[in-house]
Symmetry: C2
Subunit: 330 residues, 2 copies
């Protein structure tokens, strides 16, 4: 496959297409039983497939075939969806990608056990790689998977803590969302047999990209246009979620905004709560601080990308994706 | 390490000792945090360590060092304990090995997430094997892990079904308990670089051993001496559990005993229930049928063992373990 130069949408569609084919083949091969049905359901929910797409693009950019990288790409995507299935239980979430979550549609026990089967299948997919890749990919996959669990643990701990520092929040989103994207990009470099230095740059690119992406998500959840943004705008506010914006507001100007926020904790008229909390966020300068932090991580991602010795087409592709993160409204 | 000929207890103690050392080293290396504390708790509960012991003994019997087999042995034991942690949530079990279960001591969310971290660590331990072993061990580990999930799914399905056939029960216990022991023994053969035929015999030995062991457990739960048996005798009866003995009773003599059993379903005076149901079991000949089934699988295990080309000391060791299964009262 050759990169479709300068046409990012087409390139994204291409990766989504080949991934959809392989993901469908994987779920279709599973037995038709109570254990596997929720796996098929979960994997077929509409998703962007960012992680495996980054992995394939990086591998191809480094000269490896998409076929060589495919087992790792599928493993990463199945692992990611496994974490969503279990996180949804822990977060008591009714919906995922606009559809019923597995524990709601079936049961908590089903979501636990099918999730367990799913992580095993992630390893099964990974084990399909060329023999020279298995050990290095396993090493990275395992340490990353543990970090994702650590991130979810921090996220749950934050719910009952009133003293979360913004640095802890950044570490939490790094573990919970960035490291898996970072590992995906590095795996692309591993598939291309690249040096440790190139692998480190690939990881750094994915890590900062992931942070910028998550912060943009936090920003849009508050300040997004409801007509554009897929999720409910203000959802984090209604849930009193300790996001970057929330924590920045708590810490800004010697903490003068914190009491204002705490007064809106709990259940209130939703519209009034969203309007008022947004005003407090803005008064503290949290909106600008968040945009600044996004710019910092986008810049860091861009610098790492600049030093990655990948094909020019791949560089154009990743640069365009980085632009999307910085400017996206959806 | 040389086998301590003819002294099985000493040999068991030896394996338990070296496994305890390595398991303690593994849990001690984990961060001291909410995510990892339940893993340490679970791994340090008193356990017999049958699966890793079989793996080490088979590997040594086939001429491999215990050190070569150790990563797989640890992986198997950590995986087994992960399944217990999640099964206890699904089964709503208050106690495990006489201690509070993880979801009781901490919370369901903790037991889900720490269990997830635990299965990742099982793979992390496995990835420590010599490079030539990683791919073949992964292949067997993955397919076995999925079968264990399938067995747990069947077990849960049985609870709400009144038409479970005894063959389905045998398949359920094969998947839920036997295949992991079978895989452990086969992994020992893989560590010894043995032929597929020897691996197949090793697997068959473990599989039949596991079935005999589980059936003996079912038997002792009903007919065991309360002074010897570790668990509460009659626990399965009180829970209306569809064991071999229960299902045999339902099917024996054209089904004439089934109504008698159904009359005792649900909550009754526990002592009266246990006494009466035991009488129905005996009247149907289920006690003898269970002992006969144990003998069949012990015999099959013994035949496979006889054809395994392992050191005589290892054969003596496994034969002695097989005797324990057939005669054990605890």
């Amino acid at each position: 496959m050759k990169f479709v130069k300068d046409n990012v949408d087409q390139q994204i569609a291409h990766y989504q297409h080949i991934l959809a084919e392989r993901i469908n083949a994987y779920t279709a091969a599973n037995p038709n039983s109570a254990l596997y049905a929720p796996i098929g359901y979960m994997m077929e929910l509409k998703a962007k497939r960012w992680r495996p797409m980054f992995l394939l693009a990086c591998a191809e950019g480094y000269g490896a075939s998409a076929e060589r990288a495919m087992p790792a790409a599928l493993a990463i995507e199945v692992f990611h969806n496994f974490t969503l299935m279990h996180d949804d239980i822990m977060d008591n979430a009714p919906l995922r990608r606009g559809q019923q979550t597995v524990h709601e549609k079936w049961s908590t026990n089903t979501a636990i056990l099918s999730g367990d089967a799913m992580i095993v299948q992630a390893y099964q997919l990974l084990a399909d790689v060329d023999n020279d890749l298995l050990a290095p990919l396993m090493l990275l996959f395992n340490s990353t998977a543990l970090e994702v669990c650590e991130g979810q643990q921090m996220d749950m701990d934050f719910e009952s803590r009133q003293d979360v520092h913004i640095d802890e929040y950044m570490e939490m989103i790094r573990l919970k969302t960035s490291v898996l994207l970072a590992a995906a990009v590095q795996m692309g470099a591993i598939c291309g047999n690249k040096s440790e230095e190139q692998q480190r740059l690939a990881y750094a690119f994915g890590e900062h990209f992931g942070l910028a992406f998550q912060l943009r998500d936090d920003y849009l959840d508050v300040f997004g246009n409801p007509n554009d943004f897929g999720k409910q705008v203000g959802g984090d506010i209604l849930a009193d979620k300790k996001t970057f914006i929330y924590l920045h507001t708590c810490e800004a100007d010697g903490g003068v905004h914190k009491n204002g926020l705490l007064q809106w904790h709990g259940t209130h008229d939703p519209e009034a709560k969203i309007t008022s909390v947004k005003e407090i966020f803005r008064a503290s300068g949290a909106d600008d601080a968040c945009l600044k932090e996004i710019a910092i991580h986008s810049q860091a991602a861009s610098e790492a990308l600049g030093r990655m010795e990948i094909a020019p087409e791949a560089k154009i592709f990743f640069t365009a994706l980085l632009d999307i993160v910085q400017t996206r409204t959806v």
